[in-house]
C-alpha cells in the first residue's frame, strides 16, 4: 500500500469518526426518557429463525449506561487520536479498527440475543487484537496482541458453550425472555453454566489469574489504551456479570467466586500498580483494581453493593479515560512516560495539569468528586456483604493503595522541580485536551449534582436490569457512619503509604522477586503447546499417502464390522437372479481379479473399466438408465485419465512386504464383505417410500419434469448440485495447478 497523500491528510477520518460517535452518543441520550420511564427499547432482525437465533437488540438501564460511556468517551478518543497520531501513515486504518471496535462494543452491550452477544464479544477480541498489535513492526506488540487474543477469545469459546447451556436450560437465547424468567439457580445445568460464563467474563475482565494480558496490552497506541481501559473491552466482562446477575447470581458459588476473584484482583493489582514506574503500566494495573472491585460488588445481591458496582463503573470510566489521555499528552509532549524522569510539568502544560488533578482527586476518592460517592458506596456495600470482613479489608487496602498511586504516579510529574526530558515539554494540541478537560470536569460536576444527574439512570439499571427492589441513593454526605469512618481510614492509610513509598516499594520488590512471574509462565506454556502441536502433527500427518489411506479404510472397515456385529441384520435374498445377472456379476468380478493380479498397467486399467461397465449394466438391468449413463461416461473418462497418467509409468512392481499385503487384503476384504452384507440387508428390508412417493407425485406438478432424477438434481436439490459442481470444478483446477507445476519443473 502506498501513501501518496500528505501527512495528516487522513485526519479527516478521525474527525468524521468523532462526529459519528458523538451522534451515536446523542442518539443514546435521546433514549434516556424512555428508558428512565422503565421501558426497554427493542429491535430485531431475523437471522437464523430455525435455531431460535435473531439479530436482536435491547436498550435498558444497564445497556444505556454502557452505550453512553462507549459512544461518549469514544467521541473524545477519536478526537484525541487525531491529535495524538493524525500524522501516522496508517492513521486511516487505525480509525477504521477503532471504529469497528466501538461498533462491536455497542453491539455487545445492546445485544438481546445471547448468540448476537457472543458474536460481538468475539468481534471485540478480534478488533482489539488489531489495535494492540497496531505497531506490528515490533515483535512485542505482535506477541502481546496475540496473548490478549488467545486469552480473551479462548474465554469466549467457554462463553459460547455457557450460552448454549443457558439456551438449553432456559429454552431460548432471547435475553428479554431469559431475564424475565424464573432464573437458572435451581437448574441442573447451573454448575456448568456458572463455570463457563465466569471463565468468559474473567478472561475478558482480566481477573486473576487471567490478568497478564491487560498490562501487556499497553503495547497499543495510547488512544487505544485509553479506550480499552476506560469504557470498553475490559468492561465487557463486568457487563456480562451484571447482565446475567438476576438469573445466575445470589447463590453461594456465585458469591464466593466473585468475592474471592474480585478481592484478589483488586488487592494484587493495586500492589502491582504501586511498583510501576511507567505511568501507562501503572494505570493499567489500576484498571485491574477497578475491575476487581466491580466484580467484588457484583458478588452480592444487596442494593448498596450493586449500586456501588454501577457507580464505580461510571466513576472509573471518567477518571481512567482522562488519566490515560493525560499520560499520552505527557508522553507526546516530553518523550517519556517514566515517572522518575518527570517533574514540574505544570508550567509547560497548564491545561493538562487541571485535568490531571481533577481526575486524580476522583481516583483517590476525595470529596466532592464523583469518586468519593463511588468509594462510599463500595464501603456501604461491603458492610452488607456475606463475607463482610474480607471484603472490607480488601476494599480498604485497594483504595488506600489507589490513593497513594494517584499521588505518586499521576500527580508528581506535574509538581516539584522541573526535570530534563528527551524533548522540551510543551502543551498538547486542542484535540488532545478536549477529552481530558471535559471528562475531568465531569468528576466534580457529577459529584456535586449526583442525585439529579446520575441517580435516575443508575437507579433504573439497578432496579430494572439487575432486578432489585430499590437502589441506594447517591449522596456526598450520608451522615456519620461506618463508610465515612472507612473512608477516613483509607485517607490515613493512603497518606502513610505515600510518605513511606520508598520503603514500601522496596519491600514489595523484595517479595515479588521471589514470586514466579505469570507472564514468563505464559510464554513457557505457549512454547510447550507449540511443541506438543508439532509433535502431534508429526505423528498424525506423516505425509505418506498410503498411510492416510490405510487409516481411512481401517476406520471405515471398523465402523462397518462393528455395526454388523452389534446389530446382526436379517439376510434374505428374495428371488434367484437370472442367468444374465450371473454373467454380468461374473464379468465384473473377473475385471476386479484382473486388475488386482496383473503386472501390466494397461491390463489393470482394462480390468477396472470392465468392473465399471459391469456395474453400469447392473444399473440398466434394474431400471436406472440415468445412473447407468453417468456411470458409463465416468468410467470411460476415468479410463482415459488413467491411461494418460499411468501408461507413462513403468510396469507395476510389487514393493509391499508379505505382512503389509496381508493387512491390506484383510482391510479390503472386510470392507467388501461388510458392504455386501449391508446392501443385501438393506434390500431385504421394505423401503421407506415416502420420499420416493413425494418426488413421484410432485416432480411434474411442481417442477414440470418427468425425469425424477434430473428434477431432483436441478430443482428440488439444486443447491446440493451446485455445491457438487463447485467441488468438481475446484478439484480439476487444483489438479491443473499441480500438473502445470510438474511440467514447469521438468522443462
Amino acid at each position: 500500500m502506498t501513501h501518496t497523500a500528505a501527512p495528516g491528510a487522513h485526519r479527516i477520518f478521525g474527525y468524521l469518526a468523532a462526529l459519528v460517535a458523538a451522534g451515536a452518543a446523542m442518539l443514546f441520550a435521546s433514549m434516556l426518557p424512555t428508558v428512565l420511564a422503565g421501558d426497554t427499547i427493542m429491535a430485531e432482525i431475523g437471522w437464523a429463525p430455525s435455531m431460535g437465533i435473531s439479530l436482536a437488540f435491547m436498550i435498558d438501564g444497564l445497556a444505556l449506561i454502557f452505550a453512553l460511556l462507549i459512544s461518549g468517551i469514544g467521541a473524545f478518543i477519536f478526537l484525541y487520536a487525531t491529535g495524538y497520531m493524525g500524522d501516522h501513515p496508517r492513521f486511516g486504518r487505525f480509525v477504521l479498527y477503532l471504529f469497528a471496535f466501538m461498533v462491536a462494543m455497542l453491539g455487545l452491550v445492546t445485544a438481546r440475543d445471547l448468540i448476537t452477544l457472543f458474536l460481538f464479544w468475539e468481534l471485540t477480541s478480534v478488533t482489539s487484537y488489531l489495535l494492540i498489535g497496531f505497531d506490528h513492526d515490533t515483535p512485542r506488540a505482535r506477541r502481546n496482541a496475540l496473548q490478549a487474543m488467545l486469552i480473551t477469545a479462548g474465554g469466549g469459546l467457554a462463553l459460547l458453550a455457557g450460552f448454549i447451556l443457558i439456551g438449553t436450560a432456559a429454552g431460548g437465547y432471547d435475553l428479554a425472555v431469559i431475564l424475565s424468567g424464573p432464573g437458572l439457580q435451581d437448574h441442573g445445568l447451573y454448575g456448568g453454566i456458572l463455570v463457563l460464563i465466569l471463565l468468559g467474563a474473567f478472561t475478558k475482565s482480566a481477573q486473576v489469574p487471567f490478568h497478564v494480558w491487560l498490562p501487556n496490552a499497553m503495547a497499543a497506541p495510547t488512544p487505544v489504551s485509553a479506550y480499552l481501559h476506560s469504557a470498553t473491552m475490559v468492561k465487557a466482562g463486568v457487563y456480562l456479570l451484571a447482565r446475567l446477575h438476576p438469573v445466575l447470581g445470589g447463590t453461594v458459588p456465585w458469591t464466593m467466586t466473585l468475592t474471592v476473584a474480585g478481592a484478589t484482583t483488586a488487592v494484587l493489582a493495586s500492589v502491582l500498580a504501586l511498583r510501576q514506574t511507567d505511568m501507562k503500566q501503572a494505570l493499567a494495573y489500576t484498571t485491574l483494581m477497578a475491575l476487581g472491585t466491580i466484580t467484588m460488588c457484583l458478588a452480592d445481591s444487596g442494593p448498596y453493593a450493586l449500586t456501588a458496582a454501577m457507580m464505580f463503573l461510571i466513576v472509573h470510566s471518567l477518571y481512567k479515560a482522562t488519566l490515560f489521555m493525560v499520560v499520552g499528552a505527557i508522553d507526546h509532549g516530553t518523550g517519556t512516560r517514566e515517572v522518575a524522569r518527570l517533574g514540574g510539568l505544570r508550567h509547560a502544560m497548564p491545561v493538562t495539569v487541571v485535568a490531571a488533578v481533577l481526575a486524580c482527586a476522583s481516583m483517590a476518592g476525595l470529596p466532592p468528586m464523583v469518586g468519593w460517592i463511588g468509594k462510599e458506596l463500595i464501603y456501604a456495600g461491603a458492610t452488607t456483604m456475606t463475607v463482610a470482613p474480607l471484603v472490607i479489608v480488601a476494599a480498604l487496602t485497594a483504595n488506600a493503595l489507589m490513593f497513594a498511586v494517584a499521588g505518586i504516579i499521576a500527580l508528581r510529574p506535574f509538581f516539584g522541580a522541573p526535570r530534563p526530558t528527551p524533548h522540551p515539554a510543551h502543551e498538547a494540541p486542542w484535540q488532545m485536551l478536549a477529552g481530558p478537560v471535559v471528562l475531568a470536569c465531569l468528576g466534580p460536576l457529577v459529584g456535586l449534582w449526583a442525585e439529579p444527574l446520575l441517580a435516575p439512570l443508575v437507579g433504573t439499571a439497578v432496579t430494572g436490569s439487575l432486578a432489585q427492589d430499590r437502589a441506594a441513593g447517591l449522596h456526598l454526605w450520608a451522615g456519620v457512619n461506618l463508610p465515612l469512618a472507612l473512608s477516613l481510614a483509607t485517607f490515613a492509610l493512603g497518606v502513610a503509604i505515600y510518605i513511606l513509598r520508598a520503603r514500601v516499594i522496596a519491600g514489595l520488590d523484595a517479595v515479588f522477586a521471589r514470586l514466579p512471574v505469570a507472564d514468563a509462565a505464559w510464554d513457557r506454556g505457549l512454547d510447550g503447546f507449540r511443541a506438543f502441536a508439532a509433535w502431534q502433527t508429526g505423528v498424525i500427518q506423516t505425509g505418506r499417502l498410503t498411510r492416510y489411506m490405510l487409516v481411512t479404510f481401517v476406520v471405515i472397515a471398523a465402523v462397518f464390522v462393528a455395526t454388523l456385529v452389534r446389530m446382526p441384520p436379517m439376510l434374505a435374498v428374495s428371488s434367484a437372479p437370472s442367468a444374465f445377472l450371473w454373467l454380468t456379476v461374473g464379468v465384473t468380478a473377473a475385471g476386479a481379479a484382473l486388475s488386482l493380479t496383473t503386472a501390466s498397467r494397461i491390463a489393470a486399467i482394462a480390468g477396472l473399466g470392465t468392473m465399471g461397465i459391469g456395474v453400469a449394466v447392473i444399473f440398466i438391468y434394474f431400471g436406472a438408465p440415468d445412473v447407468a449413463t453417468t456411470q458409463l461416461m465416468v468410467e470411460t473418462l476415468a479410463a482415459v485419465m488413467f491411461a494418460i497418467a499411468a501408461l507413462r509409468l513403468p510396469a507395476i512392481v510389487e514393493r509391499r512386504g508379505r505382512g503389509r499385503q496381508v493387512v491390506h487384503a484383510i482391510v479390503a476384504g472386510a470392507i467388501g464383505a461388510s458392504v455386501t452384507i449391508t446392501v443385501i440387508a438393506i434390500s431385504a428390508t421394505p423401503m421407506d417410500r415416502s420420499i420416493t412417493t413425494y418426488f413421484e407425485e410432485n416432480s411434474y406438478v411442481l417442477a414440470h419434469g418427468l425425469n425424477v432424477v434430473n428434477v431432483i438434481l436441478v430443482d428440488f436439490r439444486a443447491l446440493d448440485t451446485f455445491g457438487e459442481v463447485i467441488v468438481v470444478l475446484l478439484a480439476s483446477f487444483g489438479a491443473f495447478t499441480v500438473l502445470k507445476r510438474i511440467r514447469r519443473s521438468k522443462t
Partner: protein, 133 residues
C-alpha cells in the same frame, strides 16, 4: 498417436458426441439425461479429438480455455439459482414461463451451467494431464 482410423473416425465422432451431448442436456428434464451427463459426453467427444489431433488442436477447436468455460458455467448456475430471489422465492426455486409453446425456466439455465462446469472441469483435467506428460 498416429492412427488413420482414429483420425478419420474422430471427425465424425466428435461432432456427433457434441451434438448428442446438447441433445442429452436438453431432454434431461423429461427423459434420461441432463447437464451432468451431457457435460461428460461432450467432454468425452473433445477428449477423443485431443487424442487424435493433439491437445493444442483440441484447445484451438474449443477456442476458450476450459477453465473459463467451467467458471462461467458455475456463475450461470449461481445466477440462475439466485434469480428466484427477485421473484420473492427462496434461492434455487424453479421459476417457469412459456414462450409460445416452449416452457422455459431458470432451471434450464441452471442445467446448462452444470453442463458447462462439468465440461470445463473434465477438459481442464484431461488436457493438463496430457500436457504434463
Amino acid at each position: 498417436m498416429n492412427s488413420l482410423i482414429l483420425t478419420v473416425g474422430t471427425r465424425f465422432l466428435t461432432a456427433l458426441f457434441l451434438l448428442f451431448s446438447v441433445y442429452v442436456l436438453l431432454r434431461g428434464h423429461n427423459s434420461p439425461g441432463g447437464g451432468f451427463i451431457g457435460g461428460l459426453i461432450g467432454a468425452a467427444g473433445l477428449v477423443l479429438y485431443g487424442f487424435s489431433a493433439g491437445v493444442s488442436a483440441a484447445r484451438a477447436a474449443l477456442r476458450v480455455d476450459p477453465r473459463t468455460l467451467g467458471m462461467w458455467g458455475m456463475i450461470l448456475a449461481l445466477v440462475s439459482g439466485l434469480v428466484s430471489a427477485f421473484a420473492g422465492a427462496g434461492p434455487f426455486t424453479g421459476l417457469w414461463f412459456t414462450l409460445g409453446d416452449v416452457a422455459l425456466s431458470n432451471v434450464l439455465f441452471f442445467d446448462i451451467g452444470v453442463y458447462m462446469a462439468v465440461f470445463g472441469a473434465i477438459l481442464t483435467l484431461v488436457f493438463a494431464l496430457e500436457e504434463a506428460g
